[in-house]
């Protein structure tokens, strides 16, 4: 029993203290060194911080170099994939572009209205210091979701600066070295960002889940699930570190059903970061009104020009339409004139016919009178003629005279 314990102690002592071939330090010494490093690191001494920064500078650069072949392969794979998807992506982009173009003008107007309103409540921030940086290392560590960028205190990077990819918020600077910095991504568990959920303007704190999503914590509205289908997550600007309204991600209602937590899908894929924008925000004071006025006047001018252009286009179209109408009317007019001329011709012809008819009628009337005279002559001729001796006492007329004719037509009366 005692000998086995001795063996254990001897073996353990040998493991800790024995320096192997070509070993300069025993394991125990190195363990002590590691513990000292840990303690010094947690105590935050200035000297150790400088040493740490120097080591970090070297390590980040060497890590970048070591990762080059792998990144080259990754990039090539992505290039090939993008070529394969080119046609589909292009079609999708074209359709999206059409929609976006129509939205841009109204968005601009809303944006500048927003600036004006924020100016009124003294909450208008401008990007003070804008720096672009390349992502050197993106080690997907579960302990620290972070990336290393190639800009440091040399380039005026400061702790707490906001980091954006395009217009989307992706993290903040948590460690600054001379030429490199570490950015804590919003997907990190320790990242706590004050956010606002729109359209209901609900304030909350968002932290990462250690993977590629965020979790909404400390939400002020428990009945949120019943309110809206989709929520958009923006920075709320609380604590004044970041400006409000930087888009982060969206919450889909589908996630509500699966989880009791509110999961945020980020707009940007945080595992595919290449270049990022580092910003610090400051409030605009004196010059702000002038700038806003300038901006707003600029937009007013743009709007005015746009409306003028629209008016001109409208008038042009109107002119074209009126031209067409005029042409049609002219055509109609000419055809009507032709019809009028023809009608006039017909009228004259008809008038001629009428006048002819008027010439024929008196003869016929004469004929009718003659016929009537002859009929009456047969009946009353004796009464008017001198030749009849019965009428010797009465006034008589010679046959063929006008008096005789009148007497006959009067039916033998004088």
């Amino acid at each position: 029993m005692e000998s086995s314990r001795d063996d254990f102690v001897i073996a353990l002592r040998s493991a800790f203290l024995k320096k192997g071939v070509q070993q300069r330090f025993s394991l125990l010494t190195l363990i002590f060194f590691s513990i000292i490093f840990l303690i010094l690191g947690s105590l935050n001494f200035k000297a150790t911080n400088y040493v740490k920064i120097a080591i970090e500078e070297i390590v980040y650069r060497s890590s970048f170099v070591v990762s080059l072949p792998e990144n080259l392969l990754k990039d090539n794979y992505l290039v090939v994939q993008s070529y394969l998807n080119l046609y589909k992506v292009n079609e999708k982009n074209i359709s999206e572009l059409k929609v976006l173009k129509s939205k841009t003008i109204s968005n601009n107007i809303i944006e500048y209205e927003n600036i004006k309103l924020k100016q009124l409540i003294d909450d208008y921030f401008v990007a003070g210091n804008e720096i672009f940086a390349k992502v050197l290392i993106d080690k997907k560590s579960p302990f620290l979701r972070s990336v290393i960028i190639n800009k440091g205190s040399k380039n005026n990077i400061k702790l707490g600066m906001a980091v954006l990819d395009d217009i989307y918020f992706i993290g903040k600077v948590v460690e600054v070295n001379y030429t490199t910095s570490r950015v804590l991504l919003i997907s990190d568990i320790n990242s706590k960002i004050p956010v606002s959920l729109e359209p209901n303007s609900i304030q909350a704190i968002m932290s990462g889940n250690g993977n590629e999503r965020g979790i909404i914590e400390y939400i002020s509205d428990a009945n949120l699930k019943n309110k809206s289908e989709k929520l958009i997550v923006f920075t709320s600007g609380m604590a004044g570190l970041f400006k409000s309204g930087i888009p982060i991600g969206k919450i889909d209602k589908k996630n509500f059903l699966a989880n009791t937590e509110f999961m945020v899908d980020f707009y940007k894929d945080l595992s595919q970061l290449k270049y990022v924008k580092i910003l610090s925000f400051k409030k605009e004071f004196l010059n702000s009104t002038v700038q806003v006025e300038k901006k707003t006047s600029k937009i007013d001018i743009e709007n005015l020009e746009n409306s003028k252009r629209e008016d001109i286009n409208f008038l042009k179209k109107q002119k074209e339409i009126s031209k067409e109408i005029r042409k049609k009317l002219e055509d109609q007019n000419s055809s009507l004139n032709e019809q009028l001329i023809e009608l006039r011709k017909e009228n004259t012809e008809l008038n001629k016919l009428i006048s002819k008819a008027n010439i024929i009628n008196p003869q016929e009337k004469m004929k009718e009178k003659d016929v009537k005279f002859l009929e009456l002559n047969l009946l009353y001729g004796n009464k008017c003629s001198k030749d009849n001796f019965k009428n010797i006492l009465k006034k008589k007329y010679k046959v063929g005279t006008t008096e005789y004719r009148a007497c006959v037509l009067n039916k033998g009366k004088y």
Partner: protein, 172 residues
Amino acid sequence: MSSATKKIKLLLYKNFPVILLFVAVLNETDFNYSNLKYFSFNFSYILIFYYSVKRSQSLGYIYIFIAGLLNDIVVGTPIGLSSLMYLILCVTASYLRNITLRPSLIKDSIFFLITILITNSLLFIALNFIFNYELEIFDQIINITFTFILYFLFSNIFNFFEKYLMSNNNVR
């Protein structure tokens, strides 16, 4: 082959575990933190344990210590923590080497399992309770399981490398 290239080749073969360890630590892709939910393993643990048990002279403790520091810097854990874990692994490997008369892969792997259980537990305690990092215990279990399973595969690969490539090139 010229003598210079031969020398370089020999140097590379000789320092193969060191180079592999530094590349594993500095490279962006780390199987220890793969984005897959049910797959991750610690390649550095396998490499360190294997070479500490089999060929301790190939992988000096000082290199392991430095690799640990670099790993901490790259991953973002407190500096010195990974070194401590790597060195604990070396201690257990050294102890195993001292007590083993007839080495076998099964025994080594069981000892390796116990060791990684201890080191990961220590890491979990240190990060969770001292340095306030949040770790998923399930991920740790997955990591330990796959590290243990893949020890068999990698020890065979390293064996093959040591036996054929190194002996053919007369490195030892």
